[in-house]
Symmetry: C2
Subunit: 330 residues, 2 copies
């Protein structure tokens, strides 16, 4: 194999594949394709997942230290949520410059701790070290009964595909932040709400066939599920639950393409899952109890790993895979 | 409370105390004073610990990517070792510039995976993200039966204090690296060997009263144990198991103070523990089975949290607390 030279030439997912292949050489059972690692202990899995953010590349200008703390905690909890897990703790490694203000550090810690508390867990450990700028790596731990674990794999050929909540909230928040509007939308971007309870409610039915969170955006997530399960998807344009916030912005600003952003912009931290059509009403009932909408947006199709999008006029086209990928210019 | 302005004015341990106090406000059972978080599941604890390193501040010039991968894995495993734990996996979050060479990334991954394999575990997850320079946060997970967990707390007033292996190996390695000598000592610095088996053998006796690893250096570790257990220590100078490597260097280079470095230089990743004097021969026997020396270096004393060092001429003085602390100039 001839290696390309720098990491930016291959992108994050190729790097993970290469790393995974080395880990597998040492231990063939290692599987980095899911949202979490899952380690069997008695009749449960211990779930673990790490996410790193850097002030330079991941923190929109205007995000407060409190929000940064909330954000890193929430995105890590989202991975536990997507497996149906019950969080058992968060570890936070914080790199920061010597000149970082103690008051900012404490606000960050408060944001992280508030988010953990909101989801019935705690910050249980971590590290603080010097770094040129703020960089934070979070690790979320969780537990789930083996029978309830929702893998990314296991999708069945006659499944429908559904999504919790709405799409494009984070995109709306980014638009408001960029335009220096003070509005509630910014919270959806900076203080995302991981679907912990929702994941547990879905998982406890034992009827979900595959599940992941939407951190990278809908199109990217669909392609990841398709590749992993060797299927395609067919998505209906009119079914997409575009958020009211994004819709309202698009009405006032013609440069905002609500469909494009709902399909490709990440950061919504909703759950995307597949199951038999006949069980959707049960899921709907479970999520109604906590006032969370659920929308079937399409179905699995056989054949190659391609995602099609069609509208009510039966125009059909291939959905581009445009979600965010680190180290690339996408 | 009037807050000092920047994090460098208070140092790492004060920051951890402040963070801990906020976490405790949300959940009084949170305890950040041990090497690992420990979460009860059935009759075991799930151990978790994170350590972060940055190329700019933690990686000596000359360390290879393979060694960086080994190092971050080893230092995380050392925390599991110090609680008597059995490792169940490592997560690695790697921040790196877009220009980082793929070949270096793969070497780093191989070093990390080799270290994990050496200690019967695997890299089970992580993240890769863009950062101005290389920064890595590792999280080690482990498990230990509740009866065998070795806390930092629990020391008894008539305990002796002992250390595995030798002191000053990392200091010797740093000296060699700085002087561009190619020698085996460099491995002790760049490829430390966490005392995983040793920790398990000690823990399984159920007779260790308190234990921690020596990452920050002997003096700092002694003061941390003293403060946590509200006791003091008396250490005998001639008993300190100074490494042969450091001793040999000090013979050739009069600027190298072997006693000072053995007391204050970190990076040895040995285990420091207390127990009843009568059980030391049992521990010795257990560690003899794997050819690891064990040395009683002193004993617990009552009174204020001070560490004294004396020699065979009965000169006694207060040991300075000079171990490395991040964000300070120590």
């Amino acid at each position: 194999m001839v290696l390309k030279e720098t990491v930016s030439e291959v992108g994050e997912r190729a790097l993970i594949r290469m790393a995974s292949s080395i880990y597998k050489d040492h231990n063939p059972s290692v599987d980095l394709t899911d949202d979490c690692a899952f380690t069997p202990i008695a009749d449960e899995y211990i779930l673990s997942s790490s996410d790193m953010i850097s002030e330079k590349t991941h923190v929109p200008h205007g995000m407060t230290p409190w929000q940064i703390g909330w954000f890193i905690t929430a995105v890590n909890l989202s991975d536990i949520a997507s497996k149906g897990g019950n969080p058992i703790g968060i570890l936070l490694s914080i790199g920061m410059p010597r000149t970082y203000l103690i008051s900012s550090f404490l606000e960050l810690i408060k944001g992280a701790s508030s988010c953990a508390t909101q989801y019935n867990t705690s910050i249980i450990g971590g590290d603080t070290k010097e770094n040129d700028h703020l960089v934070i790596s979070g690790t979320a731990l969780g537990r789930v009964h083996k029978d309830f674990f929702m893998s990314r794999k296991g999708l069945q050929s006659d499944d429908v595909i559904a999504v919790t909540g709405t799409l494009g909230k984070a995109a709306a928040g980014f638009h408001s932040l960029k335009n220096q509007k003070k509005s509630g939308e910014i919270n959806a971007l900076c203080e995302p709400t991981p679907r912990v309870k929702e994941g547990q409610k879905l998982a406890e039915t034992g009827l979900v066939h595959s599940c992941m969170d939407l951190s990278d955006g809908l199109s990217s997530s669909l392609y990841q599920l398709a590749e992993l399960n060797h299927v395609g998807f067919e998505i209906q344009k009119e079914k997409l639950p575009i958020s009211k916030e994004l819709h309202d912005i698009s009405l006032c600003d013609p440069t905002v393409d609500e469909l494009y952003l709902s399909l490709h912009y990440g950061g919504d931290y909703e759950l995307l899952f597949t199951a038999s059509k006949k069980n959707i009403s049960l899921f709907q009932k479970k999520l109604d109890e906590i006032n969370v909408p659920l929308t079937v947006i399409g179905k699995v199709i056989s054949g190659k790993e391609t995602v099609f999008i069609y509208d009510s006029n039966e125009n059909i086209e291939v959905l581009q895979n445009l979600g965010y990928e680190h180290f690339t210019n996408k």
